[in-house]
């Protein structure tokens, strides 16, 4: 493989507010390209009975496909051979007792956490998938909900301001056993359509304490870029991951920069690089119009370029960021960062995102609306 190496480092300084402390943080645009292309191969999977609505998760050398509609978890070996089918909807000890799985995370213990549409949490054991517990998590705040939601000067730390971001329900677990859920606001004075305050101060993650079953803290904030284009509620999503040292990496849909935080969500560093050939002519909204909003989100957004998914793969110490380019392109992009330096920006199939690693392959899936096929791919990392 042709190897192109060049080093391009620019540092700037931006002023950021983190945990109410104003401080300057270095921004790095460091590049040292080691990977200029990857060879992606499809992992052939057997025909299975599935809704095709779901996601692949890689954990402990296993590949699971979680069927959100039917509640099945299909387990494959690294070569795509079907090993077993677990769960399925029902009330039995080895069944999942909810109608639709809005979220899933393979906990570090090996256990499986599923989230339903009614704040229902279902924890099942590692390999037997036997139910350990099911409960409704709690996130009642200290203040009257109606007052919080109708306040023209809301307190951003009040839970009642937020809604779970079901469109973007990336669930992660930190090293301390806390689980994180993306949130957004859609109340009258606190929302993405008419509120500077929402973008400037609003939080983006809720922390769920698994022991207490309660949301105990709200964290993070949106990119300053959102106040440069008023307003982009249909693009105000983000992706994030947590590495083995409890550092959070947050990538906002319209911002080329990646924000790195410590476990207290104090900003540590900012780095990144623009994706290639992205169509970023986003259409702003000046006032709420439900029909326009849905058109921009469901129809226009898929035709544009934006940063779509982050995955930090601890096994190889690399951060992968997927981005879409737009309808003009037959491909999307995948950036690879090593120690906050871009080492690759390669072409990948549309909607590809990295999900994990089983030596010697990095595995990923296509997040498409294709309801006729599961799409699992893998590639090797060369030249590293």
């Amino acid at each position: 493989m042709k190897k192109i190496i060049y080093v391009f480092i620019i540092f700037t300084v931006i002023s950021c507010t983190s945990n109410h402390k104003e401080k300057s943080t270095k921004v790095s645009y460091s590049k040292n390209i080691k990977i200029d292309s990857i060879y992606i191969e499809e992992v052939m999977l057997p025909n299975i009975s599935t809704s095709f609505s779901g996601t692949f998760e890689i954990f402990d050398n296993k590949i699971n496909f979680v069927d959100q509609r039917f509640g099945w978890v299909y387990e494959f070996n690294p070569n795509g051979k079907l090993v077993n089918r677990h769960l399925g909807q029902g009330a039995g000890p080895n069944e999942i007792n909810t109608a639709y799985l809005d979220g899933y995370v393979n906990l570090k213990s090996g256990n499986h956490l599923f989230l339903g549409s009614t704040f229902d949490v279902h924890v099942h054991s590692d390999s037997s998938f036997e139910r350990i517990k099911s409960y409704t998590f709690s996130w009642e705040g200290a203040q009257d909900v109606n007052k919080v939601r109708t306040s023209s000067s809301p307190d951003v730390n009040q839970f009642a301001l937020y809604t779970l971001d079901y469109q973007n329900l990336i669930i992660r677990e930190d090293q301390n056993g806390n689980v994180y859920l993306p949130i957004y606001g859609e109340t009258q004075y606190f929302n993405g359509i008419n509120s500077d305050f929402y973008y400037d101060k609003g939080h983006i993650l809720a922390r769920l304490n698994l022991k207490s079953g309660r949301i105990d803290k709200l964290l993070g904030k949106r990119s300053p870029q959102y106040l440069e284009q008023k307003y982009l509620p249909h693009h105000s999503f983000f992706s994030y991951d947590i590495d083995e040292n409890n550092y959070f990496y947050v990538s906002h849909e319209i911002d080329s920069l990646i924000f790195k935080y410590d476990q207290n969500f104090d900003l540590v560093s900012v780095f990144g690089s623009k994706g290639r050939n992205m169509a970023t002519d986003y259409i702003t909204m000046k006032q709420f119009d439900s029909k326009l909003f849905k058109d921009l989100y469901f129809n226009k957004r898929p035709q544009l370029g934006w940063y779509s998914y982050l995955e930090f793969v601890d096994d190889v110490g690399l951060l992968f960021r997927s981005y879409t380019k737009g309808k003009h392109s037959d491909y999307d992009g995948l950036q690879i960062f090593e120690d906050e330096t871009l080492i690759g920006d390669v072409q990948v199939p549309k909607s590809f995102r990295v999900k994990g690693y089983i030596e010697p392959y990095v595995y990923g899936e296509l997040k498409t609306n294709d309801d006729s096929k599961l799409n699992l791919y893998r590639f090797k990392l060369e030249n590293l």
Partner: protein
């Protein structure tokens, strides 16, 4: 003129809408429409489903009400 933002804002209770009952009949679940048109326990829009105390509805079954 477009409807003002979230004029359909409901009188939600706890966030989210799992209302603790004083008696022993269990919690009541209220589901709300999100701005994306889904019916969820979390949400600030109009009601799309509601259980009796101790009921066990799944909000996602009522997306059609949004």
């Amino acid at each position: 003129m477009a409807m003002s933002l979230f004029s359909m804002l409901s009188t939600g209770f706890a966030n989210g809408q799992i209302i603790k009952e004083d008696d022993s009949s269990g919690d009541k679940i209220i589901c709300h429409c999100t701005m994306f048109g889904s019916c969820k326990a979390s949400g600030s829009g109009s009601n799309c489903a509601q259980s009796e105390a101790g009921g066990n509805i799944q909000c996602s079954n009522y997306d059609g009400n949004c």
